[in-house]
């Protein structure tokens, strides 16, 4: 089986989500990678070094600069003439593009797979991860998004794929990138961090959220996350949100502070290796999934913890 993987990148470097997607793709067959963007030579070269990638298709065009789904999907769909499966990471980029590719191919997408059980059989979470479905696709070609925390990352070095330029197209002119507000941070990225400290509504304000969590995160070399409640309340920006509809994370250690543990939050972090919970309510559902719990007032505990680390 010949598999096409969408490489997620920011114009300069490849996102780790791509590496996990390559691992999932390798379970299906021979892996080729697709890099789309404008002036993508460096990214295509980097993609050619990923272990397990046979060939890199590089689609470079001004219309692809911001990787808008309207422009990217036709490029991927055309390449699917010579491939049996299209895989993208289940990130906001992959989730934006892959269903558009699926519809162009008249294929029902298999979203957010957790495992590859066979050439056409996969497991995927439904009901916010409260159930796992095993599904078999009857479509001749597969379009799949991959839950990247469920697969090991392929080695970013060691491969020596050839790079082949492909037509990038001019886009349809119906959509245009205007602006981006990206959170700048010295801290690790949430989805690839080894340690995450995450805060909930109990922090009470944006000032307290940052005043207490940021120093702790710095001590632990951790990324900072937040519950939906904290984001809705404006304590943290949307890209901090961990949960069913935010980011799915699975770090070595996840520290949940002042987070009660709603199903929707647990869906985003319950595959973390070790979960630590700090909450004043000892009945909070977060303690049912936590490996280590500490009951108490976060306004006392967090500064003391930061101090003692």
């Amino acid at each position: 089986m010949s598999v096409l993987v969408l490489v997620e990148h920011d114009g300069g470097s490849i996102k780790d989500a791509t590496l996990a997607t390559v691992t999932a793709a390798a379970k299906l067959g021979d892996v080729n990678a697709l890099v789309v963007g404008n002036n993508v030579d460096a990214v295509a070269q980097a993609a050619s070094k990923i272990a397990g990638v046979s060939k890199v298709y590089a689609a470079s065009a001004p219309a692809l600069e911001h990787q808008l789904a309207e422009a990217v999907a036709p490029v991927a769909a055309t390449l699917m003439d010579s491939h049996d499966a299209f895989l993208a990471p289940a990130t906001t980029t992959g989730k934006n593009i892959a269903p558009r590719v699926a519809a162009l191919l008249d294929v029902m997408q298999i979203s957010d797979i957790l495992s590859v059980e066979g050439p056409d059989t996969f497991t995927r979470p439904i009901y916010a991860g409260n159930a796992i479905a095993t599904v078999k696709s009857k479509d001749a070609k597969k379009v799949i998004t991959v839950r990247t925390t469920a697969f090991e990352k392929a080695a970013p070095e060691g491969g020596s794929a050839s790079v082949e330029p492909v037509e990038g197209g001019a886009g349809d002119g119906k959509s245009r990138f205007l602006s981006a507000e990206t959170s700048k941070s010295e801290r690790p990225e949430l989805t690839s961090a080894k340690v995450i400290v995450s805060g909930g509504r109990a922090f009470g304000s944006s000032e307290q959220f940052h005043a207490l969590l940021d120093p702790l995160a710095d001590k632990l070399g951790a990324a900072v996350g937040a519950s939906r409640a904290a984001v809705d309340a404006g304590y943290a920006p949307n890209d901090y949100q961990v949960g069913q509809t935010g980011k799915i994370v699975a770090p070595e250690v996840y520290v949940a502070i002042g987070i009660s543990g709603a199903i929707q939050h647990l869906a985003g972090m319950k595959d973390s290796k070790t979960i630590i919970a700090i909450n004043k309510d000892e009945e909070a559902p977060i303690f049912q999934v936590a490996d280590i719990g500490l009951v108490g007032d976060l306004f006392k505990i967090v500064p003391e913890l930061t101090d003692k680390l």
């Binding site: 920011d10 911001h66 808008l68 789904a69 309207e70 990130t91 906001t92 980029t93 989730k95 269903p99 558009r100 699926a102 519809a103 008249d106 294929v107 029902m108 979203s111 957010d112 439904i126 009901y127 916010a128 991860g129 409260n130 159930a131 796992i132 095993t134 599904v135 078999k136 696709s137 009857k138 479509d139 349809d172 002119g173 119906k174 959509s175 245009r176 205007l178 602006s179 981006a180 507000e181 990206t182 989805t191 340690v195 632990l220 070399g221 949307n238 890209d239 509809t245 070595e252 250690v253 199903i263 070790t274 630590i276 000892e282 280590i292 719990g293 500490l294 003391e304 913890l305 680390l309």
Partner: protein, 249 residues
């Protein structure tokens, strides 16, 4: 302009789903059902566009069993003008839903179609993007802000790195994220009024769409459960544990 909103009847988001003993699916017997939360946000956004004088008519569409009428009545009570139920007892996948919606869009000629970004039952996050592809329309997915001016709309999207704003030529498809708005509750008088708003009932066959499933569910199982661990009594003990995990010195 006319706005189409798509709504789905799903398990209420407060209910913990239980997997059936025989592994055939999730038990929905005697379980509270509600409008998919993201779809409520879609309906609300359409109503706000109407209140701003941008939208002139809101048509709510649902594809599902007879009881999906209740979900449509809720949209009508919130402020939609009329509704279309495409009735089927089959579990219709996003691709087929998108095909039906595309046919309805050809008939209704809306300038915007707003959908929830995902349904909280099958968690596919695909219908809006598929619909946009089938219609050849631009898409603004995971929207946290929608502004319409003239023949285009600026959509701010919640993406992994933060926010991204795109300009889309109308007609366009928008899928909603959580922070786009806070949906209103329908008032009692509006619930009464909604009962007399028009609701047309159709079938997938009326639109010539084959709803046969492409994905066969072989089994549904419970996820591996995590065991509750230990509780420590002090910050010092917690620090020791963190050292044990190798993340503190």
């Amino acid at each position: 302009m006319k706005v189409l909103v798509a709504v789905k009847r799903v398990i209420d988001f407060n209910v913990k789903p239980r997997v059936k003993m025989d592994g055939s699916g999730v038990d929905l017997m005697n379980v509270k059902m509600s409008m998919n939360p993201f779809d409520e946000i879609a309906v609300e956004e359409a109503i706000r566009l109407k209140e701003k004088g941008v939208a002139t008519e809101i048509v709510a569409v649902s594809i599902g069993p007879a009881k999906a009428q209740e979900t449509l009545r809720t949209s009508l009570a919130m402020g939609a003008d009329r509704a279309i139920l495409v009735q089927t007892d089959e579990e219709v996948e996003p691709l087929a839903v998108a095909k039906i919606l595309a046919k309805i869009a050809e008939e209704e000629q809306p300038q915007m179609i707003i959908l929830g970004k995902q349904a909280i039952d099958d968690d596919n996050n695909a219908t809006g993007q598929m619909l946009a592809a089938l219609l050849g329309w631009p898409q603004g997915t995971f929207a946290s802000k929608v502004e319409v001016a003239g023949d285009s709309t600026d959509v701010t999207r919640e993406v992994d790195g933060g926010l991204e704003t795109v300009k889309l030529q109308l007609p366009a498809v928008v899928t909603t994220d959580l922070r786009l708005n806070e949906p209103r509750y329908a008032s009692l008088p509006n619930i009464m009024k909604a009962k007399s708003k028009p609701l047309a009932t159709k079938s997938p066959g009326d639109y010539g769409v084959d709803v046969a499933r492409r994905l066969e569910t072989l089994k549904v199982s419970e996820p591996a459960k995590r065991q509750a661990g230990i509780k420590v009594g002090s910050v010092d003990e917690l620090v020791d544990r963190l050292k044990g995990l190798g993340i503190a010195k």
